[in-house]
């Protein structure tokens, strides 16, 4: 059994009258890559700041490796943070920034330098140690922030939307690198993000935050395939939520159902019977959105409601797709992919 890196119990935080975090219980294992996913204002960053010690909880406890640290200052916790704005010290060189944590902990100068250089090499910034943060690009600053937090070998690394300010290509590369670094050093990563794709690709487990509470904690595939609440179904990936009368017509029973767009196949002939054992529905194409590698069809169902279907562009070209607009088509999916979503508890 692995040790527990973080345990949050009944964590609450109120500012004035508003409740930013409304009761969070969470356990994060040693060595886990754990993501806290949610829209802005959902409380995920506040939880992170309470783990780091920048905010004191209104109620509840924070335990790190079995020790209650709720009332301890940030410098008394074995936790380092990578900040969203990097928070590099502008008056220090890159090397001094990275070595700062070692310096304040009394590590001798020679060892400091060796370890700082090793940390910079680990994030791919050899030879930039003499520069000032202002002389670096956004991506490089992000790496310095990462090296600075990693060099002290904390038990837990907290990352507050660290890739938010990077452009798409760089972000995708950093996602892969972060995951590799985490595997290499074996430190628990707690990663805050509002980007569901980022959370899905990197994490061992994800907690989905909504209005100061956790809606679901599970592995990425579980979150995506079996959303526990309508909010999770809607926030993670694009989802078709079927409720009420539409659900009864399309699925056959009342309740809330989610069907992922890529699980739905387009049948050009709306009267085609469909493959055996599949559910079908007929409708009219309201909109066709060309996405390059795939195409999104918004289909108004005959029985009411609208479904989004995603098709890989295997043979079709954009010219053919325009003809679909307004066409009558059929949709088919496997009944297993119409996932029943429990109502919000």
């Amino acid at each position: 059994m692995e040790g527990m890196a973080i345990r949050l119990t009944g964590l609450r935080k109120t500012y004035g009258g508003t409740e930013a975090v409304a009761g969070v219980d969470l356990e994060i294992a040693d060595g886990e890559f754990f993501s806290m996913l949610g829209p802005s204002g959902s409380g995920k960053t506040t939880v992170l700041r309470m783990i780091a010690g920048f905010e004191a909880p209104t109620a509840g406890t924070v335990e790190l490796a079995g020790r209650d640290v709720t009332r301890l200052a940030p410098f008394e916790r074995d936790v380092h943070t990578v900040f969203q704005d990097y928070a590099l010290f502008p008056h220090m060189t890159v090397e001094q920034n990275v070595a700062y944590g070692l310096k304040v902990r009394g590590v001798p100068r020679a060892e400091r330098l060796v370890r700082a250089r090793a940390a910079l090499a680990q994030v791919g910034l050899e030879g930039l140690g003499r520069r000032r943060p202002a002389e670096l690009s956004g991506g490089q600053r992000q790496r310095v922030a990462l090296a600075r937090a990693l060099v002290g070998r904390p038990r837990v690394l907290l990352l507050d939307e660290p890739l938010g300010a990077l452009d798409l290509k760089l972000r995708e590369r950093m996602q892969v690198e972060l995951k590799e670094i985490q595997r290499e050093v074996g430190i628990t990563f707690v990663f805050v993000t509002h980007d569901q794709e980022e959370a899905l690709t990197m994490s061992d487990r994800i907690a989905v935050f909504h209005q100061g509470r956790i809606e679901q904690v599970a592995a990425p595939a579980e979150i995506y395939e079996r959303p526990a609440t309508p909010f999770v179904a809607g926030f993670v990936g694009t989802s078709n939520l079927l409720t009420g009368e539409t659900a009864r017509q399309v699925v056959g029973t009342a309740g809330t159902y989610s069907i992922r767009p890529e699980k739905i196949r387009i049948l050009p002939d709306h009267e085609a019977p469909g493959d055996p054992g599949h559910s079908t529905a007929a409708g009219t194409v309201a909109e066709v959105v060309y996405l390059g590698d795939s195409t999104r069809f918004l289909v108004d169902l005959d029985g009411g409601g609208r479904l989004t279907a995603l098709q890989q562009n295997l043979e079709t070209s954009s010219a053919d797709l325009a003809a679909f607009r307004g066409a009558r088509i059929g949709l088919q999916w496997h009944p297993d992919h119409a996932v029943r979503v429990p109502e919000t508890p």
Binding site: F54, P74, T81, F83, D85, L88, F89, P90, V104
Partner: protein, 307 residues
């Protein structure tokens, strides 16, 4: 114009704008095409002021410092001589007064920094954000009253048997009375806002996350202060110190009112102006030289790089 009023031809748009606006627009257009003319319009007045009134008077000061006076008539004799400066350097009185003046200016600057820093730290980072503007106003409140009013108020406070003596009596102490200490005290009071305001601004602009990052990496509060806060706020302290130092260096009224028999360079200049103008001018160059040295020292410390 055409872009803003679609459907109108340029001609009708110009007519709609009226003849007066047309002339202004032509002038604006002409300026837009001639960057040098624009620069001239911008800088002529301030440059005239700077050269004639500002540098001119400074040049007059330096020039007259090399003249002398007829000892019977006190008339200025315009013959080139370095006698004034020789007297300045040679006379122990002048040397003592010059050193005392620099000492007072340094003491006032140090006191202002020591008092202003905690105050500004409170107004910029500790006080509730909504109350901060109020505290800044309070910090600057002394500037609302006139110089003489404030100094005479201090003369009352410091007078023998006055409020300060009365307040200190229960502790078996008495006020400093009029003299050098009183001068430093009152000058510190007078120039404090000039030190507090830049420090407040610098502290207010310090990102929270830098302090968080320092604590996060294991630094205790004192360490964060020395390694992060102080280096980043240092330029503001330097800027404030230029004000407090130069203002103290040139002051002579406060010394007259609360300084007792204390003499500073300003007093010597003042008392020589009518009798020996060239000597007064030579004395006047001393603060100028000290300020130049001070600014060079501040610049060397790197504190002005980010101003």
């Amino acid at each position: 114009m055409t872009a803003l009023t679609p459907g109108l031809s340029p001609e009708s748009a110009r007519r709609a704008a009226g003849p007066g606006r047309g002339a202004v627009r032509r002038l604006a257009g002409a300026l837009h095409r001639r960057p040098r003319l624009r620069l001239a319009a911008l800088l002529t007045a301030p440059l005239l002021w700077l050269v004639l009134a500002y540098l001119g008077s400074l040049a007059a000061l330096f020039l007259s410092a090399f003249w002398s006076t007829d000892s019977f008539t006190s008339e200025v004799v315009r013959i080139w001589t370095t006698a004034n400066f020789e007297e300045l350097v040679g006379s122990p009185v002048y040397r003592t007064v010059a050193l005392r003046t620099v000492g007072v200016a340094l003491a006032v600057t140090a006191l202002c920094a020591v008092i202003a820093f905690p105050l500004a730290f409170y107004t910029a980072r500790v006080a509730h954000p909504r109350r901060r503007p109020l505290f800044v106003v309070a910090l600057l409140m002394p500037l609302w009253a006139g110089y003489l009013v404030k100094v005479y108020a201090w003369r009352l406070i410091l007078s023998e048997g006055g409020p300060l003596d009365w307040a200190l009596r229960p502790f078996g102490l008495s006020g400093p009375g009029y003299g050098l200490t009183a001068t430093v005290l009152v000058l510190t009071y007078l120039w404090l806002p000039y030190m507090a305001l830049p420090i407040h601004t610098a502290l207010a602009q310090l990102p929270d996350n830098l302090l968080n990052a320092s604590a996060d990496l294991g630094a205790r509060t004192g360490r964060t202060f020395v390694s992060v806060v102080l280096p980043l706020v240092w330029p503001a302290v330097a800027a404030g110190s230029v004000f407090t130092f130069s203002l103290s260096l040139g002051d002579y009224i406060t010394v007259q009112i609360v300084g007792g028999k204390t003499q500073l360079i300003g007093n010597l200049v003042y008392s020589n102006v009518t009798l020996n103008l060239p000597l007064a001018a030579a004395l006047g160059t001393v603060p100028v030289a000290v300020i130049v040295v001070y600014l060079l020292a501040v610049r060397r410390s790197g504190a002005l790089r980010s101003l």
